[in-house]
Subunit: 310 residues, 2 copies
């Protein structure tokens, strides 16, 4: 049995790594409706449902996040083979959420606003559920710069379309700029997991987060385009020189919000194409499907390793 | 039988209102993969599938857009009662698309980046299908300012978080600002349809489009919040004074892109709450469900009236 001193220390450690909100109002709310999840503190026992969550994995597509929970359940030997994992957010079609043991898998749609709504409600959910020591990882798809398609990028820094490690938003009509720090040690740990697996190329690099998939990423094949192939190549080469290895649409706000609330956060994305070679994603469906499993395999291995060492 | 002169004139009229892209590259592509729709010019006969489309309705939620096609099919007397309307984008879970007669219904997820990806691919789809005379209407949900919940707002101007009728994006590392014009006559026609129906309050007003649902709209109940109720009220009152009657997250890029490509475009959103009174959406599910049908009823009536007068 632990001594009183040890217990106090454990409690302190536990409190120290609790999910913290940057909003004093939430503690005073009588009810908190997590509208886009279809959950509420008055209708759902959030501590009972989510109190044991230690790993949250998020990604754009609901079916991919369902596939991930199935994969992780099998990897961790949790649940029965062939078991169905019900969508916890079945009351809404905005997001999908699945859970097995300490792992929560949530979809976030595409783009900064869509993932931001999800993160506001997810962070409040983890707070209401009194979760502690949570690691959150975005597992996604991206366009690579100078990488063979199918390569996996672990994000060192999330940068904006000017290659700056900043996330800018407008709050009450004023520009607010936040840092986009990610956990350095987590980058290292994930990198080691990839070395354990030896299944695919993995690099650590900067990830550019844009607000648009076509013009915002210099594509020549959108409905609107007022620049040339040469302009595009110059921009992508400048991004590469700034350390950018892939481009996606959620990492900056993900990094900003998770670090503000004290979560250890990482971004692991596979590249579906090399943007220096083209704009369209033309690989066969089964090739793309296998690429999309790579971040899942990497993160699945990471979770297994963490739990084995716990 | 029409004379050659009449035929030429009809052809000219038809070409004049064809969907035009602002990108010369598309006409030279051998294949165009509309990746997020799971459609391609080489695997799908887009003119045969979509050539007769005259009305496109878009909204955030896939299930709501499925409900809309069912409603419109019944209203227009198309298809058989109880008929299932298959999702044309069944190969992907990014967006859902349904069609009945000249009406296309497409989901766009939440936020500017998500709707922008959809619009790039939708505009290219309409172009490849050689559609002409297309009207596009976003039917959505929003937060009202100074309006009774359940009121419907037809957007006069889409404005940004500084109340300016502009849409700003970053293209190749440079800020580009586009106008957010909507079709004035269409606003008038939709307004008349609401007067025909007399079922709910409808106003014409400006719509503020933000990149965030919580801090970006001055909510006090997000995971992050560093301002007071008083600051929030001052911001919303300033918005009201600038003619803003509701707040949502897609109208500015929708207006900018559709007007650039020559589509008659409108935004019709119901307000789920009055933001001067609170931030949380707490109304019972069935009340919210009825509210969400209001833009559908208005736009369904509009389409019926257009087709009757055609």
């Amino acid at each position: 049995m632990a001594s009183a001193g040890t217990q106090t220390k454990e409690l302190e450690n536990d409190n120290a790594c609790c999910v913290q909100l940057c909003n004093p109002n939430i503690a005073t709310l009588k009810e908190d409706v997590l509208y886009h999840f279809g959950l509420s503190t008055s209708t759902h026992d959030l501590p009972a449902m989510f109190g044991d969550v230690k790993f949250v994995c998020v990604g754009g597509s609901p079916s991919r996040m369902k596939g991930f929970i199935k994969y992780v359940a099998a990897e961790l030997g949790l649940g029965h083979p062939g078991e169905d994992h019900p969508n916890i957010c079945a009351g809404t079609d905005r997001y999908a959420m699945f859970k097995v043991g300490p792992v929560l898998s949530v979809s976030h749609g595409m783009g900064v606003p869509s993932i931001a709504i999800m993160l506001h409600e997810l962070l409040k959910l983890l707070y209401h559920a009194r979760c502690s020591g949570v690691t959150i990882i975005r597992i996604g798809t991206s366009g690579g710069i100078g990488l063979k398609p199918g390569s996996v990028v672990i994000t060192r820094q999330a940068v904006d379309a000017y290659f700056k490690p900043e996330f800018e938003q407008v709050v009450l009509g004023k520009r607010v700029v936040r840092r986009t720090d990610l956990d350095e040690r987590l980058v290292q740990e994930l990198s080691e997991c990839s070395a354990d697996l030896r299944e695919f190329t993995t690099v650590v690099g900067n990830t550019m987060c844009t607000l648009d998939f076509y013009e915002g990423q210099g594509r020549l094949d959108g409905a609107l385009c007022c620049y040339t192939e040469r302009d595009k190549q110059a921009y992508l080469q400048a991004a590469h020189a700034a350390g950018v290895r892939n481009i996606e649409m959620e990492s900056s706000v993900f990094a900003a919000m998770c670090s503000a609330c004290g979560l250890r956060a990482a971004v692991v994305c596979v590249t579906l194409l090399d943007r220096l070679e083209g704009d369209q994603i033309c690989s066969p469906h089964e090739v793309l499907a296998e690429y999309q499993q790579r971040p899942q395999r990497l993160v699945g291995h990471f979770i297994k390793k963490c739990l084995a060492g716990a």
